[in-house]
């Protein structure tokens, strides 16, 4: 274990921010103040943070429609994100993108994406760019068990192998593609990682509800990719604590399923238990983080609510750099 106390507190903070951000959105969406479709990342925090904790701003990621967690883990401004989701002028994307289209290139976040599977080839392109620059950077495509069935993802995996690009395919298997179960929709008797292996790349598997397992497995994977061995993949076994979108009645869930997931598969709870048992941290420190995060999210929401809306006069700006 090479994680310092600061690393541990930082990791917990990032996961806690994602959790509180999403839980608060879950509540606020019910008020009707937030427009559009919102897909919460709650439950998968250890996956985003366990992956992104290894990355610098020069390492690039592309995300999904369920992208808030990736954005926060990669360093996007939380208040700017909240304003964006509220559709405000000073949102991270000026209110033009909303929940599904948050990006911030200054931190290496190339964009959440409303089209399932669209990000994978873009990550390969970003990896081709990284390879040309020769600084050992990587590009990561976050995809779900839904996106693993898209042809774009297959094409992207093959292309990455062919051109030996430092692309990493992170498959977060939360067991549901929208409202359909993974056992039905992923038509293989093997796991998703085996698909990546079939394309000729090395693949790892980890418990995506366990920060430590994800983090340590990613360390090994990244050493391999940064050494110039071409692309790699990882399947993270994780859980989605809310519906596909906010408002989803989740009638596809089994009896007691959600209660069991919150009880047995909560990555924040697991993190606390692990650092407590191993006496890595005084848990009081994590309580302080929780209070701090609660404050941050409170501010983010109240500032977003009070923020000015975009000016309709600007509706057709920023379509081109120059037209």
């Amino acid at each position: 274990m090479q994680l310092s106390r600061d690393d541990l507190v930082g990791a917990y903070r990032r996961m806690a921010i994602i959790r509180k951000f999403e839980e608060r959105l879950h509540d606020e969406i019910k008020t009707g103040e937030i427009a559009g479709f919102t897909h919460l990342y709650c439950g998968q925090e250890a996956a985003a943070v366990g992956v992104c904790d290894h990355l610098s701003a020069e390492d690039l990621i592309v995300s999904t429609h369920r992208g808030h967690g990736h954005c926060i883990a990669k360093g996007c401004d939380v208040k700017g994100m909240m304003k964006e989701i509220y559709g405000r002028r000073d949102g991270l994307c000026k209110g033009r993108g909303g929940s599904m289209h948050i990006a911030d290139l200054s931190v290496g976040m190339l964009g959440a994406n409303g089209i399932v599977g669209a990000g994978a080839p873009q990550a390969v392109g970003a990896a081709i760019a990284a390879k040309l620059d020769g600084k050992g950077n990587v590009a990561i495509a976050f995809s779900g068990d839904g996106a693993c069935n898209q042809g774009t993802t297959f094409e992207a995996m093959n292309l990455a192998v062919v051109v030996k690009a430092p692309a990493i395919f992170v498959f977060e298997n939360n067991h549901y593609s929208e409202h359909t179960g993974v056992d039905y929709a992923v038509g293989t008797n093997k796991d998703i990682a085996s698909r990546a292996e079939a394309f000729g790349m090395k693949a790892w598997r980890a418990n995506g509800c366990d920060y430590f397992d994800t983090y340590e497995t990613m360390r090994e994977l990244l050493e391999y990719v940064r050494a110039g061995n071409g692309p790699a993949a990882i399947e993270l076994d994780t859980e989605r604590f809310y519906g596909h979108f906010e408002g989803d009645p989740q009638r596809y869930r089994g009896k007691g399923e959600l209660d069991r997931l919150w009880e047995e598969r909560d990555c924040l709870k697991a993190f606390r238990a692990k650092v407590g048992e191993a006496k890595l941290l005084d848990l009081k420190l994590l309580d302080d983080v929780d209070a701090e995060v609660a404050q941050l999210i409170e501010e983010a929401v109240s500032e977003a609510r009070a923020a000015p809306p975009p000016d309709p006069a600007h509706v057709a700006e920023d379509v081109y750099v120059d037209y």
């Binding site: 994307c93 911030d104 409303g114 873009q122 392109g125 081709i128 760019a129 057709a316 081109y320 120059d322």
Partner: protein
């Protein structure tokens, strides 16, 4: 000025620009050709002959043969462009937008807007298009209208070697995604090409000839057909303003409206089916913005509302011809 054909102008421009800017990369199917074969790389050199020599000069990291995976080609270009490179992706046939449309339509075109103007995506997609080679329904289409309709994309269609150089250079110096259409039947067209750095701004139509009686607006291969028709008409004392749009997005509305205001008659020639076409678009612009200048309804010369056929006789019947253009002009002049 050197004389060369469009194929050579494109190859030379790619060569010069790649030399100038190490961020430019080329990717596509068989842009080098021969990878993984006994013949070895450069055994093909691009099926259209526009990319030979690039691999030898710039190497495999910058000149990338891809598998037949159009979504991945365009998607990779989009990602590389976001990451700071200037990719030139080739769609061997423009018809293959069908398998890569999401990456053009929902991705590349929208990044800058969706992300609040904080990103740019300077990708150039070369689309080889057009009928005239009996390539039938899936390898002959001119899909520029649908891409012109998409905000965020620029659409460019050179008709001369000089414009091929000037417009491709402009595409590679700009910061927006550009759909660069190359007509497969025009590659052999020769002409003078300015030496040294030469850029042609987008949105500036070319007045091919000025005649004053009827305006013909077109682009790509149809420019040459318009000239043939104009020659025949000139023999009868009928003068044509022939406008080569060069780019359909941005569109030089001013050039069209100025000409129509003086001629009062317009024929739009468009190598595509008629519905929701460039012809329909320009006719609508003229009808709404120059109505009082019109002496006759706008005429649209397009293919029929059908796929493009294979057999020589059928394909010839499908493609707008100089004769049809000439007839349309005469009908406009006879209109009461």
């Amino acid at each position: 000025m050197a004389v060369m054909n469009i194929r050579e102008a494109i190859n030379k421009t790619l060569m010069d620009e790649m030399e100038r800017d190490s961020n430019i990369i080329v990717l596509g199917e068989d842009v080098v050709g021969g990878a993984g074969t006994a013949g070895g790389q450069e055994a093909i050199g691009g099926i259209w002959g526009t990319t030979p020599g690039l691999y030898a000069k710039f190497g495999a990291d910058r000149v990338i043969d891809t598998p037949i995976s159009e979504s991945a080609i365009i998607g990779a270009a989009a990602g590389a462009a976001l990451a700071g490179k200037r990719p030139v992706a080739e769609l061997m046939f423009a018809d293959f937008v069908g398998v890569s449309l999401d990456q053009l339509w929902n991705q590349m075109a929208k990044f800058r807007y969706m992300f609040g103007g904080k990103t740019k995506c300077p990708a150039v997609v070369r689309l080889i298009y057009g009928a005239g080679m009996n390539a039938a329904a899936q390898h002959s289409q001119s899909v520029y209208a649908m891409l012109t309709a998409m905000p965020g994309l620029k659409v460019v269609l050179p008709a001369t070697p000089a414009d091929a150089k000037g417009l491709l250079t402009e595409a590679l110096r700009g910061d927006d995604p550009v759909m660069f259409f190359e007509h497969k039947a025009l590659y052999g067209v020769k002409g003078e090409v300015p030496d040294g750095e030469y850029r042609q701004r987008f949105g500036e139509a070319r007045m091919v000839r000025e005649g004053g009686d009827v305006t013909i607006v077109t682009c790509g291969r149809m420019v040459g057909f318009g000239e043939k028709a104009a020659d025949k008409l000139a023999a009868d004392g009928i003068g044509v303003d022939l406008i080569d749009l060069r780019t359909t997005s941005p569109l030089d509305e001013e050039a069209i409206l100025d000409s129509v205001e003086s001629t009062g008659r317009i024929v739009v020639v468009d190598e595509s089916p008629p519905r929701c076409s460039l012809a329909a678009d320009i006719s609508a612009i003229v009808a709404s913005k120059a109505f009082t200048s019109l002496k006759a309804p706008p005429a649209m010369i397009t293919g029929p509302h059908s796929p493009i056929p294979f057999a020589r006789e059928l394909e010839r019947a499908w493609i707008p011809s100089p004769q049809k253009i000439e007839d349309a002009v005469r009908q406009l002049l006879a209109f009461r």
